[in-house]
Amino acid sequence: MQVQEHDLPGVGKKFALTTNEGERMTVIIHNTGHREIYSFRGREEFPTHAVRLEDAEARMLGAILGGAYFQPAVAESMDMVLGQLSVEWFRVAPGSPLAGRTIQESAIRTRTGASVIAILRDGRPQPNPGPGDVMLAGDTLLVVGDRGQVQRFRAEVGGGERVNG
């Protein structure tokens, strides 16, 4: 793909893109932070369609286009409630009763009813952890249960914290 960059004094910057298939589009980044996307139909001289995005919207679109939007966004709050079912992320804080224990040792399922269905360590997910798997401080746990069970889990882990809750 060809990218040409031009200054638009007083307005912002212009990026003219031509894909390998010869389709043309132009992205304008305004000094105000707005972005605009124009596309050219065929050989047409003037752009025929425009989308205007705010700064945050443009970043989101960038993440979607870059394929980053669908990767597990640990930093994002992932709080979904499907009927009675609740799925939440928790970070294991240092000093949490869970830190350094296996799932079996913590007996977390028996005590709260909620299950740990994945452990994320250093950005790598370990799905379906077994009873012998250890939880460390700094891990992020994906926990599933009904609302009461997840709430009990939160109360039980004490030193644990909900991620961006």
């Binding site: 004094p9 307005v11 003219a16 304008i28």
Partner: protein
């Protein structure tokens, strides 16, 4: 004297009302503010507390307007970067030279043919040559034309005009503000203005590393005060040697634009530019007696027609020389006809120098017409150019058929 705050409040209410109206109508504010100013003033009625003559507050409104010019030009200088100019390079130089060559020549010829003296001619040429950067940029964004092929050419021409304005203002201000009438005296004052400009720029360039350190001030409040003090001191210093204070402001902006603190200063200064700039346009209108406009109507119409022709021709030439299509080239010419803030700045120089009275109503009418007509022409540029090309094609075919 006791009603000063009330009077300024009334003025601000008019300013805010005019700005609100222009915003609702999606026009630039300057012409509306000028009209608001013209409608009131010494000839306006007063009923009790509702005194719209602004007799007591006229000096303070005029002073706020003066500050407005300083902030407008300071901001222009900040926005402007020498590096950017060099990068934009040839296309700007060619298009800009064509534009200035045609329109500045017309701008000088017209008042000369009217028999105006030299200083008036120079000021009038400045009024008619310089497009409104603010209106052009706003219209391009509003009409979603920023991605069009001709937009770089348009903004390049505008930037070239800004450079021209800076140099022109400094030379003409020397001529207009000096009292000397001899050729030698006039040349001396123009030379002094140019020398002041180059001197400040040279010293400023060398001082950039020092300024980078000195302006590393964490408190916004303190930085604002330091910058405002520098702005008024440099502008005032220029004035003492008959260089328009606007030039001093522009130079301060140009120097600070090269520092690391440009964006922060720009952000801080925008509210001041907007506030005092609005007072400048209002105050400019306030000075004009609407009943005196009649004497300037025909002069203005002639100038408007010349501007339309000159700008369109320059757009076609510049566009075609850069390889743009005829339609795109026509867009260039029809977009750059908007006139606004800078024409009024040049005209206020005429008032400061005590030149012919007709310059102010002329500038006001001229800007009013082109600030409204410009965006309309830009909006309809495709239809207009299609009609023009069809007419041109018909003319060209006719002689061919006859021969």
């Amino acid at each position: 004297m006791d009603h000063m705050v009330w009077e300024v409040g009334l003025a601000l209410a008019l300013v805010a009302g005019a700005a609100l109206l222009s915003w609702k109508l999606k026009f630039s504010t300057a012409p509306f503010l000028i009209v608001a100013g013209m409608l009131v003033g010494p000839h306006a009625p007063h009923v009790g507390m509702l005194d719209l003559r602004f007799v007591e507050s006229a000096p303070i409104i005029a002073f706020m307007g003066r500050l407005g010019v300083l902030f407008l030009l300071f901001y222009l200088g900040l926005e402007f970067s020498v590096g950017r100019l060099i990068r934009s390079g040839r296309s700007i130089a060619v298009g800009g030279s064509i534009y200035i060559g045609i329109n500045f020549t017309l701008g000088l010829l017209y008042p000369a043919l009217l028999g105006w003296p030299l200083r008036e001619t120079l000021v009038a040429a400045g009024i008619t040559t310089i497009s409104s950067s603010a209106i052009v940029a706003k219209v391009l964004v509003d009409l979603r034309r920023t991605a069009n092929p001709e937009t770089e050419m348009i903004l390049g021409i505008i930037m070239f005009e800004d450079v021209f304005l800076a140099v022109y203002l400094s030379i003409v201000s020397g001529l207009v503000l000096s009292e000397s009438t001899s050729v030698g005296g006039v040349a001396l004052s123009a030379g002094m203005a140019l020398g002041f400009m180059l001197g400040v720029l040279a010293v400023g360039r060398m001082a950039v590393p020092w300024l980078n350190r000195a302006l590393r001030i964490r408190s916004d409040e303190v930085l604002l005060l330091v910058v405002a003090a520098a702005l008024l001191l440099v502008a005032g210093a220029g004035e003492t040697i008959h260089v328009a204070e606007a030039i001093g402001a522009l130079l301060t902006g140009l120097v600070l634009a090269e520092t690391d603190h440009r964006e922060r200063i720009e952000r801080m200064i925008v509210p001041f530019r907007d506030f005092f700039g609005a007072m400048f346009f209002f105050g400019f209108g306030l000075e004009i007696d609407p009943f005196a406009l009649g004497g300037a109507v025909w002069i203005t119409l002639g100038a408007v027609i010349l501007t339309l022709i000159g700008n369109f021709a320059a757009g076609m030439l510049a566009g075609r020389s850069a390889g743009l299509s005829p339609t795109s080239s026509a867009n260039v010419g029809l977009t750059v006809v908007s006139r606004g803030e800078f024409s009024i700045v040049v005209a206020s120089l005429g008032a400061a120098g005590g030149l012919m009275q007709v310059l102010q109503p002329f500038a006001a009418l001229y800007v009013l017409v082109l600030a409204v007509l410009g965006p309309l022409l830009t909006r309809q540029s495709h239809a207009i150019s299609r009609a023009l090309f069809r007419a041109a094609g018909a003319v060209r075919r006719k002689p061919a058929g006859e021969s």
